[in-house]
Symmetry: none
């Protein structure tokens, strides 16, 4: 069996998506997600100029070999652009394998470990009272697990909170928007927010919160400690994770579970985090984490240390990645939770999906492979438009983490 061709499809139904389609001499093709929010074209070039020519003629069945061919072949290993390109190839190869063997992806990576996939949604309000309202709405939508973000008194625009009444989407057309940030205000506010949420909605709701990399290690330790009484399901990205050791302080002072990884791309980002048990959930998505082949290894490694998955699942990843993630979530034992931020309706004009949400859980059907296809004609109607994630500055103008 041979790969005969491959192409990159960039489209922008509401937001940019990069997809990879790999063709074979058996008539079967595979789809992979290659979307790297705000850097889409770098991945597209990487695939078009370097990976696609090297794929031609290879046997798509030998996924492990092809994975290592691209991972080791680049010399400059790891990195988001590189690992996203490899992930797209890997997903497309698993999609082909499933289609060739006429079976859904989950059946190839362990079979069903559960009947449905627990997801969490986002409740975002411009202030405490609107946030409380939004939490209530999502409870009515059936969610058991809700990520709560709120506008902070004294900070105009806060991460995770929509500016108008549109659905929240952090990337904006054109160049990065510059936001303002003040950790001190945030640290004073966050525990009050969760106190109110618990008071209003009780102790059973699974609550999540995203710090978005903005605390120093000792600030994060304070925050996690002060959130302990509200029993969060997880606290996400409390520090910028490049310094793996930065999480040690939190673990000394708090028992709030920690989730990290949405900006990571390699198993080597986790050696200290796992072996020192500094985190509880891995958020690295398939699409940036080198695909299914690599993430199966990361999840296995995590499982030894009783660490679960909680994949990033914002709208900056295409339905192909979401479907692949749901297969993965269905199959592995140490699945924890899946982020679910529904794509806008317009996205489904381009991507034909095989999953659905119902009462707090996601379900995926038995379409062979990953099961999401792209309507290329529809895709052509939505040409790429540059859009970037914001940047942050402190009050004095200091460039800060976003």
């Amino acid at each position: 069996m041979k790969i005969t061709d491959a192409k990159v499809i960039i489209c922008s139904p509401g937001r940019n998506f990069v997809s990879l389609k790999i063709f074979t001499d058996q008539g079967v093709y595979g789809m992979g997600d290659a979307t790297l929010n705000g850097r889409e074209k770098a991945v597209a070039t990487y695939l078009q100029e370097y990976c696609i020519p090297a794929l031609l003629g290879k046997d798509p069945q030998n996924i492990e070999d092809i994975w290592h061919y691209f991972y080791r072949g680049v010399y400059w290993k790891r990195g988001a652009v590189n690992m996203t390109a490899i992930a797209a190839i890997d997903m497309a190869l698993w999609d082909i394998k499933g289609k060739m063997l006429n079976t859904p992806l989950y059946n190839l990576i362990g079979g069903k470990s559960r009947e449905k996939v627990l997801v969490y949604t986002h409740a975002n309000g411009k202030d405490l009272s609107e946030t409380l309202e939004k939490v209530g709405e999502e409870i009515e939508n059936g969610f058991f697990a809700i990520r709560v973000q709120s506008g902070i008194p004294g900070i105009t625009h806060t991460y995770g909170v929509p500016k108008d009444n549109k659905p929240y989407e952090p990337a904006q057309k054109g160049l990065p928007h510059e936001d303002y940030w003040d950790t001190s205000k945030y640290l004073n506010f966050a525990p009050k927010l969760f106190q109110k949420v618990r008071e209003k909605y009780g102790e059973d709701l699974l609550l999540l919160h995203d710090v978005h990399h903005r605390c120093t290690p000792i600030e994060a330790a304070r925050l996690a400690h002060e959130l302990d009484p509200f029993h969060l399901f997880w606290l996400e990205d409390p520090v910028t994770g490049e310094l793996q050791e930065g999480l040690r302080h939190i673990r000394k002072h708090a028992t709030t579970p920690i989730a990290i990884g949405e900006v990571f791309n390699s198993v080597y980002d986790y050696t200290t985090l796992f072996t020192e048990q500094l985190i509880d959930f891995v958020r690295m998505p398939l699409v940036h984490g080198g695909g299914i082949t690599h993430m199966l290894k990361v999840a296995s490694f995590a499982s030894v240390f009783h660490i679960q998955t909680g994949f990033h699942g914002a709208t900056d990843l295409s339905p192909i990645n979401l479907a692949a993630s749901l297969h993965f979530d269905m199959a592995i034992n140490n699945f924890g939770i899946q982020e679910y931020m529904p794509h806008q309706a317009i996205v489904n004009e381009v991507f034909k999906i095989n999953y659905r949400y119902d009462k707090g859980f996601m379900y995926i059907d038995d379409t062979p492979g990953i099961g999401v296809d792209i309507d290329e004609k529809a895709a052509n109607k939505f040409p790429y438009e540059m859009a970037c994630l914001p940047v942050n500055r402190k009050n004095d103008g200091t460039m800060f983490y976003w």
Copy 2:
């Protein structure tokens, strides 16, 4: 899809083998190896009394779920009897999956990462000069990698050395034979043996040696240090591995690579060994290591620390395990080497095999699933006969490691 029946087949074509056959409502059945040398009937009872009744009605596609059902379901986790039973189930389920999807096992666990599997053989002589001769014979048989064991001056019977001119087989009919051991004599002899082998056959030959758990940590450090100049491919089981920390001394004093694991059965036997990088090769076989599902996780965990596989492959494991191991060896990237000790011809009257040896490498064909079947009529001709591995005593009668 449902499991409709399962049965245990015990036969003894030259030596005892326990096999598990799982039947499904789709007509397809799967084969797994359940042989635990010298404790065969304990595993058979375990399967017959507890596992088979619980398998009936389960969907054989959900391998991950079934693995955890038996692993977690027993409460008394880990242990060779338990993990061998789980391994047999797991192998049979993967065999079924391959047959249902009409594809060889290796294609389900990554595809081909290589064209052929490097194996090592055994050269055993009753004394130094016969051992040197045997090494020469195995070189003529095409082997690049040879495990060298020799009779030791002053020790009548030594592990790894046949007593008569028969092929070596440590298990003997009836109760355990009592051997005699003297580490001191062994430590004085072993470096001389390898000096002679290197002098006669040069530096390119890959040499392996098995200490068979018989050194204390500091004895092992001395031995490994004194073997350093002869550049072994690996030194196997230098200490008894129950005390994971026992390998630390070796690593301080020697750079001879270390292989361990043929008596282990759980990923938790490796947490210290891997994270402290105390070993270089994992020898835990699929059949005792919980099967393919578990060993994929162990191999993934190992790969992060640049540790390779080198599976136990003596004749005490059935052709089903050998074939499954060869699929595994073909598919994973961090394969190192495979032990190969050919079964006696009589074994192949019972087991129909799909692999062959040629010039230092093993090859496996594309039969769907694991690809080894059992001829039950032929099996019935060789009823179980109790056979045990030896025990060791020191000169004064002290019970020692074998």
Copy 3:
């Protein structure tokens, strides 16, 4: 002196027990417990097929040698089936030694270190109020130390809580029952339970609680921290102990003492736990922990780190094990507490016991050896019936720890 015969007796007076009886040429016989809850027949086969033939002719006085003969002789060391078989042999040999010397077991392993054995009992209620009642009843029964487990709001059946008004027995006839579990609900409830118990019964009562392996390391740290104000005597099995390192977080956040070990079987399960002082009590019972010979070494090692014993003593172990444990508890200095869950009356039709409970303590008489005998005729009236411990699934169907 020689062993002339041995036999395995399986009976089921209310629940299954496996006993080993070793006969000698001096007319004296010894009794050992070989019960492994839910896997009884695997141990029986192990003993019948491999151990009993090897015992014949051996001198029963050489207990240390025989222990190592079976421990080292199996090659596949450790594991519950194996270690339970060895434990049964070891107990029977100590029983013989006591009878030959006409002295109770405790007199052979140190003599009396105390006059009576502190025990704890179980108080289990279907909800908070019933549990409080049951605690009161056990106080009236004279217990100073009570393990408190309660039904949890939102979870139908909880570990440790009887379903009807029968005495609690987790193993059920036939295949494993599938239970449902939700750690989140449990974590919210447990501190409230102990707050109420302390409010109602004061601070002097020794309170114990069993988490039954169901927390991740960070969940366990939260729980232990929130239980700190209620000064538990111990928190049992807060995490699944296979990952010894999993207890480190608890030690950072809580001073509640930790007990672990009822699913362990080897001294090598404790190297990290002891040397890092991660636990305070060893719960590994004689019957699964390789018998008296091995447990004396484990207890010695524990004493170096000021760790005490607190043996598992549920009804899934026979009166032989309970009596042997009481001798052990009487003799060693670092005894902590003994679990005591009385067998149903029917059990004592088969086993003739030499111990009694009175006002919070157990007493054992001076019958030589272990002092428990079996009435084989009575035993024959209760033939083996398969019974299994339950398994647990999460809400979405995920296989979980039980």
Copy 4:
């Protein structure tokens, strides 16, 4: 002051180079190197699509702010494509700063710490005897420090050794060439090579050697130990550095200094390496290491642990990077050595350089800024041609590190 425009120039005088030119409203422009060997166009797209639009209007004097703008602004931090783009911007901004202040770069980052820059060259032969000859030639060329690589008996093409009589260049036109590798042959040969070099050329010559990531940790420890008697200046990339812990074994067994980093791009690649003192030289080049701004911090951090620089300086980096490196080498105190592999003459038709080699040292003149300019007309004569670094397979076909 404002940035008014920027453009990417890709040219291929013998090999591909990517350069960034930033224009300002003061007439001054700056040059940066953006070459990522074998992935050139991915960086070009990254710059063109995302960085250049964001640069326009910014004040080029605020280098620190701009560095953080791009580093933090991308969200997907680190990674070779990203960090190379940032490095190009950073170099160009420092070039502008130097030109605006009419002073050479070294004068802005500390002034001169030395008069000349110690460099090492490459001596590569197809076999031991040719390699010895080449070492002699380079001694005659005045070099005090020589990296010695040699063809290995039994391996057709070896890293670092030219195939024909052309200057060595690992990247080849078109898709990756597949090479063959056998670590075992290499390990046997390398110590002999250095024994001969020392025998022939004495002990004063500074000898370097590049393992090119191809050893496992224990193989690297053996090699370093066996090279100890030959007193290498350094051993480079003994293991693949993704697993920082992989260098621990070497440090236990050898005192040969270790250099690493040519495939790294972030200060976070060094936290374990520096704090555990696992390396002695940092080889991360400015062009892949985020530029001058970031590398000043890496060098500062290194200096705390008495670690020196030894920057990668192969021909896969443009003269702009080489000149910038020489300024850096001149200015910092903990400079160790600089790799120097002369560009082919044709390269200097495009790049106008300000440095020269003389008797073992490099010298850079006082041209303001970095001091290298590009002749765009000349550049246009050499259009980009795809070229890739090789990949490696082992004898059985296993994909291996190159």
